[in-house]
């Protein structure tokens, strides 16, 4: 199958899906209240843009997302790298990790709200937590599997001290694995954004909660699509950056 056929088939699938959905609504089999038809979404979008809700909510969500993502990714990579680098630190933190790791980030919501209130910081904290673990494990595995021969090479050519070893050998060698973690965090982060905001922190999730309370399901659908599109864009941009940075890979 050629690339073009595959793309055409994929587009056809989406169209059939939307038509079936629309038909289900129009035929009256499913009441409009329960399943808004896709044709209602563009009008809803324009209305939400006009009253300024869409921009405000997307901006708020993006801001939680980016700050949580940056914090969680950085700390995850830093701690994961340190654990893979120093056996003593690894042993020290292993028990703590085993204790905290199984707790899903959204289980921290009560504490997030007690500590930070229903605020931006709360949402960022929860996102950071989700993203932390993904990046922690990805960085740990990536750093631990850096070719020992390359580290020996570094020693033979005067790059054996911690700083050159870390920045010239270990981190570049671990970069593909670290990028895989960042990318997975990018996706999981969006899920946590919505989950956190469902509890009333302003953003896309909160707006969805409000709308569902009023049975304005067309608004709910609009924001579901918004999330899908925002994730699609962030993943696309990430892959662009990644393929540039990792151009040395075959």
């Amino acid at each position: 199958m050629s690339k073009r056929t595959a793309a055409l088939l994929s587009a056809a699938g989406v169209i059939v899906f939307l038509l079936a959905w629309e038909g289900l609504g129009r035929s009256g089999i499913v009441p409009q209240r329960l399943l808004p038809s896709p044709s209602a979404v563009p009008a809803t979008f324009i209305a939400e843009i006009k009253n300024g809700q869409w921009q405000a909510m997307v901006l708020a969500s993006l801001s939680h997302y980016l700050s949580g993502l940056a914090l969680g990714s950085f700390l995850g990579i830093a701690v994961g790298t340190a654990a893979a680098l120093w056996p003593r630190f690894n042993a020290f933190q292993a028990g703590i990790v085993r204790m905290l790791r199984p707790i899903p980030a959204i289980a921290w919501i009560p504490f997030a709200i007690i500590w930070f209130g229903v605020s931006e910081a709360s949402a960022a904290f929860l996102i950071a937590l989700t993203v932390f673990w993904i990046n922690y494990f990805a960085a740990y595995a990536a750093v631990a599997s850096v070719d020992k021969d390359l580290i020996e090479l570094g020693h033979a050519f005067g790059q054996g001290a911690l700083i050159p070893r870390l920045f010239k050998i270990i981190l570049p060698g671990a970069l593909p694995g670290i990028f895989a973690g960042l990318r997975a965090g990018l996706g999981q982060g969006w899920m946590t954004v919505v989950a956190a905001e469902l509890f009333g922190i302003p953003g896309v999730g909160m707006r969805m909660m409000e709308a569902s309370g009023l049975l304005a399901t067309h608004i709910v659908v609009l924001y579901m699509i918004t999330i899908a599109v925002l994730y699609g864009i962030s993943d696309f941009l990430f892959v662009r950056v990644q393929s540039r940075v990792l151009a040395w890979q075959r």
């Binding site: 021969d149 033979a156 050519f157 005067g158």
Partner: protein
Amino acid sequence: MAAVIALKGVSIGYGADAPPVLAGLDLEVERGSFVAIVGPSGVGKSTLLRVVAGLHRQRAGTVVLNASERPQHRPFGLVFQDPRLLPWRRVERNVQLGLEGLPVGRAERQERARTALKLVRLEEYGTRWPYELSGGQRQRVGIARALAVDPDILLMDEPFGALDAITRRGLQDELKRIHRETGKTTLFVTHDIEEAVFLADRVLLLSGTPARVAQDLDTRNGTSAENVERIRAGLAGDYEI
């Protein structure tokens, strides 16, 4: 002539309790000479090279490198059996690796990398990624990287062992030319006796458990077929399949 490398009573082993693989080795390598070390696999010849390079600690004995005191060079350049290039660096940046951290400016680093690449006839390949090169070319980049630090000593660990016969032959000629042009003291490990006799002025055969110097031949003018046979017999006697 002063010995550039002086080993005295060197013993090598792995792990604390295992018996040594190599014991009581004395070796002096004169400046500018090309010394080959041959021996069956497992005899500790690669480890010996790593001991000289300070990458493996000997169990006993002393290792002295009489490298000159020049701040802009490293005492030795090491060539591994695999090319061992950093895949995320272009060829020229790979060659510059050992110069980083030395008091050498960026422009001079680039210039020295270019000169070293010229010496291995790869001056056109500086901006390539390692994956774009053939196995033989990668190994030549490894040699250029070792030469770029302008070392007193070139340490080579079966550098042509993984190459096909034709490429190997070509690189042996190149190495002979490079040694003639640069006069670098070279310690070369191989299990190929013909290669050793072709390249080196002096061939040492390590054998036995623990290994010792079983033969020490002057091969400046080649050597007799009889000697080659004797060494080959020494190698074969110790070989395990």
